[in-house]
């Protein structure tokens, strides 16, 4: 029997809420890219049987059309389902130190807020929610088609995280 090769597998699924509005910018060649952080909550029982909450913050990067949809429809506090893969994001600090942090490159972002549950002061009409949902699906198709041509993430994001190695 021939030898097996290692299957490529790098998949992340998560549901959480945005900790602030997405930051959207364009690369030098005009490709839109959005960054946001989502808070993932987990409830568990500790050793003495009490319920505890644990929150994990995960950075998400979104490219192309989907980035524009995120800018249009997402704000702080919104709930999303994110599907994508883990990638490392490296950059150099001003004093020349190399930094690297893990983030999720999303190829699918589902907007989970229903029209009735929107916080006040945000986009008023409930219609936008449904529209956003449909548009997100369309955005996903666009991303799939363009993924092969997508340029790697540029490293100019401001983050103060560091890895201990």
């Amino acid at each position: 029997m021939p030898e097996l090769r290692l299957a490529e597998l790098n998949r992340v699924y998560m549901i959480g809420r945005l900790t602030k509005d997405p930051e959207v910018r364009q690369t030098t060649n005009g490709t839109p890219v959005a960054n946001f952080t989502i808070a993932l909550n987990r409830r568990y029982k500790n050793a003495s049987g009490e319920w505890k909450d644990e929150t994990t913050f995960v950075g998400v990067v979104v490219w192309q059309k989907l980035a524009e949809l995120c800018k249009q429809y997402l704000t702080k506090g919104r709930a999303v389902l994110v599907e994508g893969k883990l990638q490392s994001h490296s950059w150099e600090t001003e004093d020349g130190q190399k930094r690297s942090v893990l983030e999720v490159r999303a190829d699918r972002v589902e907007f989970l807020d229903r029209e009735g549950s929107r916080a006040t002061g945000e986009r008023g009409s409930g219609h936008a929610a449904a529209e956003g949902h449909a548009a997100a699906a369309e955005g996903q198709a666009a991303i799939d088609a363009q993924e092969a041509a997508a340029s790697p993430a540029p490293g100019d994001q401001q983050m103060d995280d560091d890895l201990p190695f």
């Binding site: 699924y13 909550n41 913050f57 989970l112 103060d160 560091d162």
Partner: protein, 129 residues
Amino acid sequence: MSELRIPTLNRVLLSGRLTRDPELKYTAGGIAVCNFSLAVNRKYKDQGGQWRDEATFINVVTWHKAAETVNKFLRKGSPVIIEGRLESRSWETDAGQKRTAIEVRADQVRFLEKSESAPDATAPDEPAA
């Protein structure tokens, strides 16, 4: 229609090879914890149509019995498939700065090497001590 509450969903699936031997430690309470780093490869075609390899390095932590099993059977270069969730880890640098990184807390580690007679490592989903 009843309102939905936000569900807990935090799931990661990865395949890769260990970049170094795993490190096993025990907490003050005697719980085993094993850290290792995984190189996750991706092949892609660049804009010129050339195949390229891209590696992402991901820190993984396992607890309890699985930690010991991983430490016993895996070495640098061992191929594995892991399943788990993303977790943040915070620490202070020597200069007193706060840092946070995400890593994967694995609850399943599947050993892929044929020669291994080892069982797969499964960690019970308990909170970190």
